[in-house]
Amino acid sequence: MAAPGWPKQIPIHGWRPLILLTVGTQLPFDRLVSALDDLTGRFGLDVYGQVGISTVKPKNFPSVQNIAAQDFDQKFRSADVIVAHAGIGTVLSAQKYRKPIILFPRKASLGEHRNEHQTATCNQLENRPGIYVAWTESDLERLVADRASLKAASTDDVAAGRGSFVSNLRDYLEQL
């Protein structure tokens, strides 16, 4: 037990969680938690996990149910690669913090979501800068093994997509 007054996590110089796993807060995602836990055991990865209400608890890396709002910034900043379900909020966070993201879509056919929109999202986003899709556990293994070569989207890539949307919307709103 930590002594009173000590921070819950003692920062150790040179240590950082290379991979941040995040599966969202609303639904369990045991298949992804297990797959990354297995890879962590085999390859000795540095992983920090947000596992939500998944029923599987990772044995090989530390995890929390949800990342507290005040820790979110630090967790994303210190990660080198994000591994996540194909949630839009997570994709936007990866862009904001300029981290490459590996998406592992939830499948409704396996009871992991209400419909197959995460597969559709991955179909649309695959090959975008900074976004990598792991359709299967073996894709995940390959991408995780190759993590040092994954590149984040540049700020220009991100701005190019949303810039015209914001300016078109501004023009529309102002003539209402």
Binding site: G24, T25, Q26, A69, F72, G87, I88, G89, T90, V91, L92, S93, E116, H117, A120, T121, N123, Q124, L125, R128, G161, R162, S164, F165, V166, S167, N168, L169, R170, Y172, L173, E174, L176
Partner: protein, 149 residues
């Protein structure tokens, strides 16, 4: 006198999308409404109010949410209401339209195969429904002006 714009989004991806498009609200007197405490502060957006979260599967929550939203609209009297989803935003558009506001539904970028159910329903009364995918433009009278991704 600046026009009043109410911007509504549930916590999570819906909110993150609203935060990005908030850059287009700079000529308005804006009030943000969301469902999770701390989100507007995290995104640096103010002023804001919290409303009860709701979804189709929870009718009681839906009523509480509707009561909250009605209160916000009656007090703020927005000229324009915009939402990126989900259910609370839909309710806001419905009430807002009844009270004479211009209402705009921005369908979540997560909907890349078809418009959300809320988006389809909103298309029956909204002043504009925007899809964030070019290939969906035209579905339920939606238009495409770009997307956050």
């Amino acid at each position: 006198m600046r026009k009043r714009l109410l911007a509504v989004a549930s916590g999570g991806g819906h909110w993150e999308q609203l935060a990005i498009i908030s850059q287009s609200f700079d000529k308005f007197d804006v009030l943000y409404a969301t469902t999770l405490p701390g989100l507007p502060e995290k995104s640096g957006l103010a002023p804001s109010v919290l409303v009860t979260d709701a979804n189709r599967d929870r009718p009681l929550q839906m009523l509480l949410c509707a009561k909250d939203i009605a209160g916000v609209i009656l007090k703020f009297r927005p000229n324009i209401i915009i939402s990126t989803g989900a259910a609370p935003g839909f309710i806001a558009l419905l009430f807002g339209k009844m009270l004479g506001a211009k209402v705009i539904w921005v369908d979540s970028v997560a909907n890349s195969e078809q418009l959300s159910l809320s988006g389809k329903l909103a298309s029956r009364f909204a002043d504009r429904v925007l899809t964030q995918w070019q290939h969906l433009a035209g579905q339920s009278k939606s238009q495409y002006m770009g997307g956050v991704l």
